[in-house]
């Protein structure tokens, strides 16, 4: 059985190559060329372009990761959703950034403003130094216990209008949203990680569990491995709670018309010191790999491809049709 896949564009949080103000910009233009841009554009215009590209090129969503050294994801996501009609937006954050009541309150408004197109992606397994710089001193399994409480309370106040929960990390007394704040669905929750705690948290709370290329590779090396084994483990844990969790894959990708073009682009990036995605190939080759993941049970693909504007159009025009034509849209 093959479910209808969702394709999501990963949005960069530290500029897009030379676009934005995160690194050296493009070469300066000769002064004799009239330039009308001065002061008219800011660093969010490039992000807006990427969001519009994802919308217009037929992607299902954009994903803005939690990046403490980059742009804040809720602000970025809110802007991208406001300027689109169909796109879903996934905002990444970690459970220490706000109380669950406040995070849910912000989400409730964004759901109202966007017709229910917001998703959450919780980052839990942070590097300890990064976490402490965010004011988060929780370590190990405690982080998962806190995330569990965070999601329990966030859903509790969303779905009940008199909700009390006294937890170890958070509390709420006679809380809960009244109509119309609670009218829209709770954001779909995306989680990640391959530890037992991570998979178990997903089993209880996630709508989508995101694996990444390293998870897939690591699992492939293990006995009876492959992403399929991880997905089966997750499915069994979720079934224990009477739930089902969709699986997603975050995948850097480089796709071109044919092998020669791919090799030329790989060589160009290697020479420039740019990262080269492990998944690089012709549109047909990349589609074949995605079909393999679909067969494993992956239903969400978060594709990372830079420069984001051009590559989003490219993937929308060349790659997505190869998959979506053979898998009728569930809607």
């Amino acid at each position: 059985m093959t479910a209808a896949p969702e394709f999501v564009v990963a949005v960069p949080t530290r500029g897009d190559g030379a676009r934005g103000d995160w690194g050296p910009g493009p070469a300066p233009r000769p002064a004799f060329l009239t330039d009308l841009r001065d002061g008219a554009y800011g660093p969010f215009d490039h992000l807006a372009q990427i969001g519009r590209a994802a919308e217009i090129a037929g992607f299902h969503g954009v994903s803005v990761p939690f990046d403490p050294a980059g742009e804040e994801s809720l602000v970025v996501t809110a802007g991208l959703l406001r300027q689109s009609r169909w796109l879903r937006g996934t905002a990444g954050f970690h459970p220490g950034v706000a109380t669950p009541v406040y995070a849910a309150k912000v989400a409730a408004s964004l759901q109202r403003f966007t017709g229910g197109r917001l998703d959450w992606r919780l980052a839990i397994d942070l590097d300890p130094a990064v976490a402490r710089a965010q004011g988060d001193f929780a370590e190990g399994a405690e982080r998962y216990a806190r995330a569990d409480e965070f999601l329990t309370i966030a859903r509790g106040v969303w779905h009940e209008d008199s909700y009390t929960y006294e937890g170890r990390y958070f509390q709420v007394l006679a809380g809960g949203f009244q109509a119309p704040l609670s009218d829209r669905p709770f954001p779909r929750v995306h989680l990640s990680g391959t530890s037992a705690e991570a998979l178990d948290l997903s089993a209880r709370h996630a709508d989508v569990h995101l694996f990444d290329a390293a998870d897939a590779a690591g699992a492939a090396g293990a006995e009876g491995g492959g992403l399929g084994a991880l997905i089966a483990d997750l499915g069994a844990r979720a079934a224990g709670y009477g739930r089902a969790v969709a699986s997603g894959l975050v995948l850097p990708v480089l796709a071109r018309e044919d092998g020669a073009e791919v090799r030329a682009e790989v060589a160009r990036r290697a020479a420039a010191g740019s990262p080269v995605p492990a998944l690089a190939g012709s549109y047909e080759e990349v589609a074949a790999v995605l079909r393999g993941h679909l067969a494993d049970g992956v239903t969400t693909f978060v594709l990372e491809a830079a420069p984001h504007l051009e590559e989003t159009y490219r993937l929308g025009e060349h790659l997505l049709p190869l998959i979506t034509e053979e898998v009728p849209h569930a809607g």
Partner: protein
Amino acid sequence: MPVDVYWRIGTHGDQRSLRDRTVTRGDWSPVVPGSIAPGVRAGRPDGYSHLDHMADVARASELSGFVGGLLPSFPFTDDPWAAAASLARETGTYRFMIAFQPGFLHPVQAARMSASLQRATGGRVVYNVISGGGGPAQLWWGDKVDHDDRYARTSEFLDVLKGVWHGGPFDYEGRFYRVEGAGLPAPLARQPFPEIYFSGSSPAAIRAAGRHADHYLSWLEPFPALAAKFGTVREHSEELGRSPRFAVRIDVLARETEEEAWDEIERGWRHVDPAALRGPEVGGDSVGWLRGQSFVDWPVTGPRELEAAPNVWGGFHLLRGGPAFGLVGSYAQVAARLDELIGLGVDAFILAGVPHLEEAHRVGENVLPLLRGHDLRDHAPSTPFTATRGTL
């Protein structure tokens, strides 16, 4: 000193007028023909949301000359961060004054959100720091910290927020917050720090305001009371070597003539719940609310009994949700009262009127042009006040 005049963007829908309390804009009442954002088209909701009306209010007040809009935050409202981030690209010069309670966001997160929002708007973020009204609403938010400690927490919150703002590494260990090696990344750290409008009427609030406020923001009160409150803030600030400026949040009902203005109040008064005329009920630990109610001799029987001083009317909360005091009168009278407040040292206003969209144009076009500012030679205040002018 220039005077900044803000408007208010309702985050809880709006009424068609003060004549009846039905909220027809936004979806806090059933969506029926005549509702706006969402409206009804071919028997179904038309796909617009309250945000679309908020965008209209933002554009209307920007066009009529207000420098920005306050986005309030309460349990039943839409969220100001969500609204400002969504509307960032739909206005040009308009500042978003975001109301928030420091306890609910971590200060490092607040810094990141603010800096990204500064980048999205070209530096148009302003803070309205509120420390909560206590009571059941505070527990609703999941906050059990008591009144004075909330202000201590606010103080720490702003210490951390300012500490990380221009980059790091910043370490902090307080009662409420602890960070290690924190700091905004370089492009975010280049943003201007938002101006702080600080609310709170208690001694604890005034102490915290002295340390952190650019503007000390009060609801409107009869002018002598307001002047005394400013005097206290000024004293505390001077002890700390700071000099805050003063801002007042004022509902305005202004019409061409005084009679028209009071007629509008009378029309609303017909629908006031008689039980509300017995006097206030207290649900929290908000000192500002208690102060507001103390300026009136309850119970009352008619609207003019709530006029605590000429044009200073304490019955707005009976006609719409929100604080009690505002100005009622002709365009010229309202302008004269605003001038008196400028004379007390006020250099920023947050004005509001119901309905917010149309009243933004009315006030922007008819009242603001009449303001004379510091030139008070022909404008002796109608009520005595004790605060001194000049140094602010």
